[in-house]
Amino acid sequence: YLRKTKFDLGRAINMYYMDENKGNKALVAPLTKVFESYRDPDTDEEDQFGIDGAMKYFQDLEVALDEIVVLGVAELCQCPAMGEFTKEGFLNGWKLVGCSTISQMRKHIQTLRKEIPEQPTVFRRVYRYSFLLSRLQGQRGVQFEIAAEQWRLFFDESSGGIKGNTETSPWLDWWLEYMEKRGTKVISKDLWEQLEVFLRKALEDENLDFWDADAAWPGLIDEFVDFVKEKRGGTLKVV
C-alpha cells in the first residue's frame, strides 16, 4: 500500500481499510444472521437485543458473567448499556476483528481474555468503557456500590483483571475501605479514570515516589495517599 500511494502514510492507511472493508462486506450477512438469532422480535426493538438475548449470547460464547471479558465484548460492540446490543455496534465490532461465527468469536474472546490483563492499553480501553456501562440512567457518575463491584472485577486476576492487592499492600482493599469510610456516593468519570492510572503506578512503585502533592491527582486520591500513609504507620515507605 505504501508503494502504491508513493509512501503517503495517510492515503495508504485509508486504502488499506477500504480494501479491508471490501473483504469484510462478506461478513455482513452471516453476522446479521447471528445477531437476529438473539433478538426476540416480541420484546426487542428493531436492530437491537436486550438482556435475555445477551445472556444467551454470552452462554453460547462460553463466557461467564463475572468475567471482565464480558465488558471486553461490550466495548467491542459498543453496547449502549449493560446487556444491550445494537445491530450497528455488533456488526461493526465483529467486522473489525473479522469474525462472523460463534466459534470464531469464541476464539477471539480467547485472545481478548489474554490481552486484557497483559496489555495495559487494552485494559484501559475496556476499563474506561465500563464507566459508561455502569452509569444509571440519567446520571453523570457511577454509584459507589456499582463502582466497587467493577473495581473488584478489574483488579482481581481470578476474574481476568490485573492484580489489585500485593503482599505488602492491599491497594484495592485499602481503596475500598477508604471510600467506604469516606462515604462517597457517586464516582465521577475523572476519578474513575485517574484511579486506574494511580493504581497502575502504585503497583509498580509501592513507595509512591511518583506521587506529588502538587500534581494533578484528584483530591480524593491525595487523601487516599494520606490514608495509605497512616496504614503504613506514618510513612509512605513499604513497611
Binding site: 457518575g141 500534581a215 484528584p218 483530591g219
Partner: protein, 764 residues
Amino acid sequence: MPPTMPQAPHKDDLDETWSFLESGINSVMHKLEEGVDMKHYMALYTAVHNFCTSQKAVASNQGLQAHRGAHLLGEELYKLLGEYLSRHLSEVHEKSLAHSEEALLAFYIREWTRYTTAAKYVNHLFSYLNRHWVKREIDEGKKNVYDVYTLHLVKWKDDFFENLHAKVMDAVLNLIEKQRNGETIEQSQIKSIVDSFVSLGLDENDSKKSTLEVYRHYFQRPFIDATRKYYENESRQFVAENSVVEYMKKAEARLEEEKARVGLYLHSDVTKSLTETCLDVLVTAHSTLLRDEFQILLDNERQDDLARMYRLLSRIKEGLDPLRSTFENHVRKAGLAAIEKVASEGENFEPKLYVDALLQVHTRYQNLVDEAFNGESEFVRSLDNACREFVNRNRICKSTTTKSPELLAKYTDSLLKKGSKAAEESELEEMLVQIMTVFKYIEDKDVFQKFYSKMLAKRLVHVSSVSDDAETSMISKLKEACGFEYTNKLQRMFQDIQISKDLNANYKVYQEKVLDDDDRRRMVDAHFQVLGTGMWPLNPPNTAFSAPPEVTKSAERFQKFYFDKHNGRKLTWLWQLCKGEVKANYIKNAKVPYTFQVSTFQMGILLLFNETDTLSYSDIQKATTLAPEVLDPNLAIFLKAKVLLAGPDGAKPEPTTTYNLNYNFKNKKVKVNLNIQIKSEQKVESDDTHKTIEEDRKLLLQSAIVRVMKSRKKMKHVQLVQEVIQQVKSRFPPKVPDIKKNIEALMEKDYIERLEGDEVSYIA
C-alpha cells in the same frame, strides 16, 4: 648674612663653582633664619647660570662634542648637590639618635621644616639647571633624575627617613594611644608628621604628581594595625567587665571618636579603612554577643538601647538579618499573648477588646520600628509578617481564621451604630483608621466584607447609623484598600436608601390624592424602603406571617403606588426587618400612655389584644401564622417585660397556655423598647453568614479557574493552581485542596478536561 662674601667663582671651574655654591647652600640650610641677602642670592644663582652657559658657549665652538660636555657638567653639579644632601642628612640622623618619643617627633618636625624650606630656596638657585639639564634628562627618559626640590625629598626619604621611620611611627602610635587612653596630646605634631609622610609620596614616573604610597605604607598600615590591636584588647576587656548595654555605648562613642580623629590630624584617605577596622573589631567581633542581648532588650522595651544596637549592627554587613527574625518572633509572641489574655476572659468578650489588643501590640511595635529602627523597610516587613500571623492565627480564631474579620466587622459596627458611646467625629475617624490597620492584615477579607455588609444593611434599614459621613468614610477606606468591586454592593445599598427617601416623599403626595376620610382615620404612618435584591445581604422571612390588617392596608397601598411607577418589578416584604411603635392606651395608672417599640411580628401579636384581653397560644398562632421558632421567643419577651401575663403563671408556650393583657404594666420610661434581638437569632445569623461565605468562595474559585483556563486554553495543573491563588489572594487565602476540588467540579461540568501529563485544557 655671612660676614665675608666669597668671590664669584670662575665660570669654567667646577671645583671653584661648587665650593662657592656649597657654602651658599650651607648657609641656606643652616642659617636661613638669618636671611640671605639678595646680592648673595643673586651671586649664587648667577654662578649656577654661568657655569652651565659657559660650558655651552665653549661647546658651541667645539661642535657636537661640546654639546655633550654641557650635559656632563650639569650632571656633575647635580651629583655634587646630591652628595652634599646625603652628607647633611646623615648628620641630621646622627643627631636624631639622641632623641626618642615626643622629643624625636619634635626633632623630626623641626628638621623637616628646615630642610623643606631650604629645599625651596635651593630649588630656586638651581632653577637654571632645572629648566635645562634636568628637563632634558627627564625628557630623554632617564630615571632617578629629579628637579632639585624633588631631589631633596628623595634624598630625605632614602638617607634619613628609611633609617628612622620605624622609630618615628612608634612615637606617633604611642602618642595616639595616649590620647585614646584619655590623655591630652600635642595633636599638631602628628598632623605635621602625617603631612611629611604624604609629601614623601613621589610618583616614580612623574615627579609633579604625588602618591600616597609612602604614607599608606609607613603610616597607615602600622596605624591601622595598632588600632586593631588596641580595640581588640579594649573591647575584650570591657565586655568581660561590663554589660552589653554599656559596651554598646562605649563602642558607639569609640566609633565617633575615631571619626573625629581623622578630621583632627589624619589624612582623609584613612577614613574608610579606619572605620572598617573599628567596626570589624568593635562590632562584628562581638555581634553574636550583641544579638544575644537583643531579645533581652526587647523584653524590657529598652528603646534607646535597641536604637543603639540598630545603629551599630546596621553598619556591618548583614548585621541586622538575625535580628529581624528575632523581632518578628517577638512581636508574634506579644500578639499571641495579648490575645491569650482576651481569650481567658471567656467566650463572650467584646469585639472591641479583641481589636484593641491587636492594635495595642501593633502600635507598640510600630513605634519601636519607627523610633529605634529608623523605620527601616525590612523591619517594617518583619512587623507586618508578625502581625499578619497573629491577626489570622491565634487562640481565638484557632478553629477558623474567619473569626478575626468577623470580630473586626462587629467592632466596626459597634462604632458606627447609634447608641454606642457617641465618639467625637474626629475620634471616630481616628478609630476607623485604626480598623483599617488591622484590616490590612486580615487574610480573609471576604469574610469581613460579608459581615460588614450584613451589619451595614441593618444599620441602614433600622436607620441606626451614627452618621452618613462616617459610613461614607469607612466605605471609601475599604474601596481604597480593596478596589471598587469590594465595595460596589455597599455603595449600591447606600443609593437604595437615598432613592427610598425620594420615593417616600412622592408617595406622600400620592397618598394625599387617593385617601378618603375613612382611610385617613385608620392610616398608619409608614416609611418604606425599597432595596435591590442582588445588593442587599437580606433573606426573605423564614416564617409565614399574616400582618395585622392595619399594616396590610398601608402595605398594599404602597405596593399599588410602586407598581404604577415601576411595572414588572417584584416586591417582597421583609417583615422580620420591619418595626413600629404602638401606643398603649389601656394601662391604668399611666398619666402619659406608654409607647412600645416593637417588631412587626410583635405588633401582629399585640394588636390582636385590641379585640380581647385574653388569648390562647393557639389563637395567637392561628391569627399571626407565625412559626413557633419566631412566636415563642417573642412571647417570652412580652412575658419578661410583663406586657402580657401567662396563665397559668410561668407556663411554657403550649397550645393551651393563655395570655392576658397586663393592665397594671409599669415602667420607668414612657417609651419601652421590646424589639430586642434574640441571642439564638444572632448565633444563627453568624452561622448563616459563614455558610454563605463558603458558597461564595466556591464560586470565586471556580470563576477564577474558568477565567484562567479561558485565557490560557491549556496549562499545567500546578501553574493553574498558582494562578488561581494569585487571583483570589486579595480576598482570602485559598487552600490547595479546595482549588483541586473545584477544578474537579469543573471537570464534572465539562468546562475543562484532563489531558496527559498533568495538563488541563479548556473546553469551549
